[in-house]
C-alpha cells in the first residue's frame, strides 16, 4: 500500500485556492474535499457502501464517543475502525478534545444537539489540569481521564489513517489571557501527543501499511492574531506534523470567523494539507477554499437531512421538504442532479415520507445531501484546475 504524501496540483494566481492530493494507505483524497461525520462509527442513516457510491472520499469518527461506546479496545479487536464499519477508504479521527470542552464549558456540542442535556449533566468536564481532562460519561455517568497520551492510544486502537493531536477547544467568550495560557498548554499537549505518536514501543505500526497513520497539529489562538501567529510558528517550525488543522475559537459571528480563518490560512506555508474544523455551509466552503483550506468536515449534510432540508445550489442553499409547497410537486429536488433520489423521486414523495414519519425519507434525503456535497467539491476542484473558479462560483450562487 502507498505511503502518506501531500501534493499540490493546481494553484490559482488571484487567491490561495488550490487543488491537491492527500495520499493514504487507504487511497487518495482529491482536495478540496469534504469529510463526512460518522460520529459514533456510523454515518447517520447511511451505509458506507452508499457513501462510496455517492463519491465520498473520506469519513471521520469521534474519539470521544467511541472511547465511551463501544470502547476502542473492542474496535481494535476488529482490526480497527475500517473493518468495524465496513469502509476501505481514507478515514480521520479527532482527538476527543472538541467534545469534552464544548460540553464541559456548559454549551452543547453540535454533535449532540437534539439530545436533551439536563443541568446536572451540563458540566461534564470535571477537572482540567496540565495532565489532561477528567470528564463524566454521557452514557453512564462514570468519570474518564483523557490525556494527550490516552487520546493517541485510543486513536491508535481505532486505526484511522489521519489522527489529530489532543487540544483544549476554548469557547468564544474567554479572554485573551485565558486563550494565551490555554494555547501554551495545548502546545505542550501537542508535543506530548507527538511523543506518544512517535513512540514505537507501545504502538507499533500494524493495522495498515508502512506508515499506518499520520497526524495533524491544531492551530490555536482564538480571535487574537498575535496568538494565531505564535501558534502557526509553533505548528510549522516545531511540530511539523503531516497536516494542520485550524482550531480554537473563530469568534462569535461569521464575519469574525472569516477574518480569523483568512488571516491564519494566509500565514501557512504549503507543506501541509489544511483542515478547517466544523464548517459545512456550501457558500462558506466556496469562500474558505479561496483562503487556502483543503479539507472541511461538518455534521450538517446528514443533520439537515434528518430535519427535512435538502441542499440546493444558489444563494438560498437549502429547501425544507416538509414545507406544504412541495406536497404536490412532481419535480425532483433538482432536475439536474444525478443522485439516486433526484433520478427516482418527486418532492411530493419525499414530502409524503416526512409527513408519514417514514425513516426512508431521511435516508433518501441524506443520499441527496451527501451526493450534493461531493458534487460541490468536485465542481470546486474542476474550477481551480480549469482556472475559472470565480466564474463557476458566481454561476453556482446565481442558480
Amino acid at each position: 500500500m502507498a505511503e502518506f504524501s501531500w501534493k499540490i496540483k493546481n494553484k490559482l494566481k488571484l487567491s490561495r485556492a488550490r487543488t491537491g492530493i492527500i495520499s493514504t494507505p487507504h487511497g487518495n483524497i482529491e482536495t478540496p474535499a469534504f469529510i463526512f461525520c460518522a460520529t459514533k462509527a456510523a454515518l447517520k442513516s447511511f451505509s458506507t457502501l452508499d457513501a462510496k457510491k455517492n463519491n465520498t472520499q473520506i469519513i471521520l469518527s469521534n474519539t470521544y464517543h467511541l472511547m465511551l461506546q463501544p470502547g476502542s479496545n473492542l474496535i481494535s479487536k476488529h482490526g480497527g475502525l475500517h473493518k468495524f464499519i465496513g469502509w476501505d477508504g481514507p478515514m480521520l479521527t479527532d482527538s476527543g478534545g472538541f467534545q469534552i470542552f464544548s460540553l464541559g464549558h456548559g454549551s452543547v456540542a453540535d454533535e449532540i444537539k437534539g439530545r436533551k442535556i439536563n443541568s446536572n449533566n451540563k458540566k461534564s468536564l470535571l477537572t482540567l489540569s496540565e495532565d489532561g481532562a477528567i470528564f463524566k460519561s454521557y452514557i453512564d455517568g462514570k468519570n474518564h481521564l483523557l490525556t494527550p497520551e490516552k487520546s493517541i492510544k485510543v486513536q491508535r486502537d481505532l486505526g484511522a489513517d489521519l489522527i489529530v493531536v489532543f487540544d483544549e477547544c476554548t469557547p468564544f467568550n474567554v479572554d485573551k489571557d485565558y486563550t494565551f495560557h490555554s494555547m501554551l498548554r495545548s502546545h505542550r499537549w501537542a508535543n506530548r501527543s507527538i511523543n506518544a505518536f512517535n513512540s514505537k514501543i507501545e504502538y507499533e505500526p500494524k493495522k495498515g501499511s508502512a506508515g499506518f497513520q499520520e497526524i495533524y497539529g491544531i492551530i490555536q489562538g482564538g480571535i487574537y492574531k498575535d496568538l494565531r501567529e505564535e501558534s502557526i510558528d509553533f505548528n510549522q517550525s516545531k511540530l511539523d506534523t503531516f497536516g494542520i488543522a485550524i482550531g480554537g475559537s473563530l469568534g462569535s459571528n461569521k464575519e469574525q470567523m472569516k477574518e480569523i480563518v483568512k488571516f491564519t490560512a494566509s500565514k501557512l506555508n504549503n507543506n501541509h494539507p489544511i483542515h478547517l474544523l466544523g464548517i459545512g455551509d456550501p457558500i462558506d466552503i466556496w469562500e474558505f477554499v479561496e483562503y487556502g483550506i483543503d479539507t472541511f468536515d461538518c455534521v450538517s449534510p446528514t443533520r439537515l437531512a434528518r430535519h427535512g432540508a435538502a441542499l440546493v445550489k444558489g444563494k438560498k442553499s437549502k429547501i425544507n421538504l416538509k414545507n406544504l409547497e412541495f406536497k404536490e410537486s412532481l419535480r425532483p429536488i433538482d432536475e439536474n442532479c444525478d443522485c439516486y433520489t433526484c433520478k427516482n423521486f418527486t418532492l411530493s414523495y419525499l414530502h409524503h415520507l416526512f409527513a408519514a414519519k417514514e425513516v426512508l425519507g431521511l435516508q433518501l434525503l441524506t443520499n441527496h445531501n451527501i451526493f450534493f456535497m461531493n458534487e460541490l467539491m468536485s465542481t470546486i476542484r474542476n474550477s481551480i484546475q480549469n482556472n475559472n473558479f470565480e466564474k463557476t462560483r458566481n454561476e453556482w450562487l446565481d442558480r
Copy 2:
C-alpha cells in the same frame, strides 16, 4: 408488456406444495413468494433499489393508509404507485378493509402497532352498513366512507398489478351468526368490487399494458368449516377472480389457524394463485406451503429489524442483537448468509449501532431480514422443484 397469467410448474405428490409463476405486466413472481409491506408507500427504512438487490419479487402497499395520506389522486398524478415509490416490479394493494375493521373493533392493527392510540381514537369505525364503512381518519379525525366501489377506485388510482376486493375482516371473537351474515355481505361487496373493477367506463386501463390490473377474491367464513366451504364455492364458481386470498378470522391460536388454512386450501382448485394474509413466521411458512399457499405477506421482517431481531435458520428462528451476549462477538449474524450485512459487519458492530440508537442499525438489519426471507422462499421453491422438500425443511429447522 406481458399479460397476466398463473401457471403451476411443479407439484409435490405427498402434499399440496407447489411452485408456480404469476406473470404481471411488471414481471414474473416465482411462487411460493413472500410479499414485503410498503404500507405507506415505503418499505420501513429501506429503499426499493435495495429491496430489488436483495431479490425481492413483489411488494404491497395499503389502500387505507394511502387514501388518507397522501391521497390516491396525488399518486395517480405520478402515474401510479410504481412511479411514486420507484419500484418497477410486481405490486399488490389491499382493499383497506383489514385496517378499517381491525381498528374498528377496538383492537390495534399490526400495521400501526407502536402508534399510541388513545381511547377516543380506538373506535375509528363509526358506521358499518350495506353500503360500506364510515371511519375516522387517524391523521386528522375526518370521517371517510369506504365502499367496494371506492376501494376499487382508489386501487385503480394507485395502479398496483394485483388488487383485492373489499371485505369485512371479522375479529376472532364474533359468533357464527355474525360471521355468516358478515360473509354474505362480504360476498355482496365482492360482487360490487368486481362490477366496479370490470366497469371500463370510468376506469379505462391505462397505467400498464393490456390487462393493467388483476383482482383477488377473499374467502370468508371465520373458523366455521361449513361457512368456509360456502365461501370457497362462491369465490371459485361465482367470482372466478384471477387470484384468491384466504381472509377472515383464522381463530384464536396457531393450531386453529393451521387447521382452518389447511382445510380451506385443500378445497381450492388449481386455477388461482392462493394468498394467505398476514403470515410471516418462517416456520409457519414451511407448513403453509405444504398446504398449498403460493404467496404470503407480513410486516414482520421489517418490524423485527426495528426491534433489533435478526431472522436466522433453525427452530429459534430469530436472535435479538440488543442482547449483551453479542456485544463483543466478532462473527456475523450468519456466516453462511450472503447478504451485505453478514458479509461486512459483526454482531458486535450491529449491537453497537442499536446501543448508540443509530438508524443505520435497523437499516442493516432490515437488509438481512429481507434477504433472509427471499432466500427462504428460494430454498423452498428449489426443494419443491428437486422433490426434497421434507429433507430440506428438516435440515433448515435443525440448523
